[in-house]
Symmetry: C2
């Protein structure tokens, strides 16, 4: 990674056009050639950037960075205060815990957390409009269409509603019910869901995880 601190101006022409007046900034060049221009302010996001793959044309006082899509960023250097290069090697990468996928897995493994007596039909049931997160059967024999979100907002309810409308055309599923499951559900989303006969369920992720590890322990005893 090359780090350059310099007074510079930057222009970008691609999906939109931008200009950066002359100022002191950090120019960061990563191993794969991607270039980012950072100011010292606010955001973690750079002011301008160009992701790989790209080609850096180094004209010493100014660089032109081009990508295959025809976008170009021009950095003009007026005065350089720092220029260093560092070899990092491969990064082992980020491990994540607590994303929607995991929540879905935990719920599919313990459907009765959402409603007593629920049994799993399948996860990721594909429809023309996209995959339904979880399909279950309830004690009365209805098919329960379940949408899982980390945060329950209005677009999740819309998504579930589309699935319900679409799946109503499949007579093999029998009577349908909708269920909206999230760690927390916004009042607006809850109101909309309930006005459409969709049941809302809030679940606790840590509790779920605990339940899962209990099961695991039990299973291995």
């Amino acid at each position: 990674m090359r780090l350059i601190v310099a007074r510079c101006t930057v222009e970008y022409a691609g999906r939109l056009e931008t200009r950066l007046p002359e100022a002191l900034r950090l120019v960061m060049v990563k191993a794969d050639g991607c270039v980012a221009v950072h100011s010292d302010g606010g955001a973690y996001k750079p002011l301008n950037w160009m992701t790989a793959p790209n080609v850096i044309e180094d004209n010493s006082d100014h660089w032109v960075v081009r990508n295959p899509k025809g976008e170009a960023m021009t950095i003009t250097f007026h005065e350089i205060f720092h220029d260093s290069d560092h070899v990092f090697g491969e990064d082992p990468g980020l491990e994540k815990d607590g994303v929607e996928k995991q929540l879905q897995e935990l719920l599919a493994a313990s459907p009765d957390v959402m409603e007593p007596g629920l049994t799993l039909i399948r996860r990721e049931h594909y429809t023309a409009l996209g995959p339904v997160d979880i399909l279950c059967k309830d004690t009365a024999g209805n098919t329960v269409v379940i949408e899982v979100k980390r945060r329950g907002e209005i677009d999740g309810v819309e998504q579930l509603t589309r699935y319900l409308v679409d799946l109503a055309n499949d007579p093999s599923l029998g009577t349908l019910r909708g269920m909206f499951v999230a760690q927390s559900i916004k009042p607006q989303a809850r109101t909309l869901a309930e006005s459409r006969g969709i049941v809302c369920v809030e679940v606790d992720y840590d509790e779920l995880r605990g339940k899962q590890s209990d099961k695991w322990t039990l299973f291995n005893q």
Copy 2:
């Protein structure tokens, strides 16, 4: 801006939990206290970050960065290879030349690009649910409710549908039609739109811009 190149491990606990195994990385601390950890690969986005406002607790071999929301990022330094500090001063900031807004302006100026005979009623028509991009009248006297996007995706169709439902309560508008306009429209969005009787129109931005400059030339001759 402080730049530290070091072998480090990072943990984040907040909206989710993440771990970064020991590796060589860049730790960037900006003037407002926000901290970002960059690898040498791919993205302009840092692996981990903490935006301002936050408090950095410096225990020399490890930092704990906390924000008021109760999130925390812990950076443990194992070996430091570079550590420098730079004073940037205020950045004059990024100047942008538009995308969707400009597309909207161009379409409002030439409504017949979307459908022959369309005439503009108004732009940015405010409803309880948010502003309708463009309102037009068609040759049959219907009011056409138009949603403009750069890329036409399914949530844009939902947005337009909400406006249509809401505007149906306004008798002064007469018969309503919906129109979804974008540079490109995804198949799923098109399917959903057409199932709701919403017309889909793809427009070419460069062509539109050309048309506009023709008009401009004509006007100034």
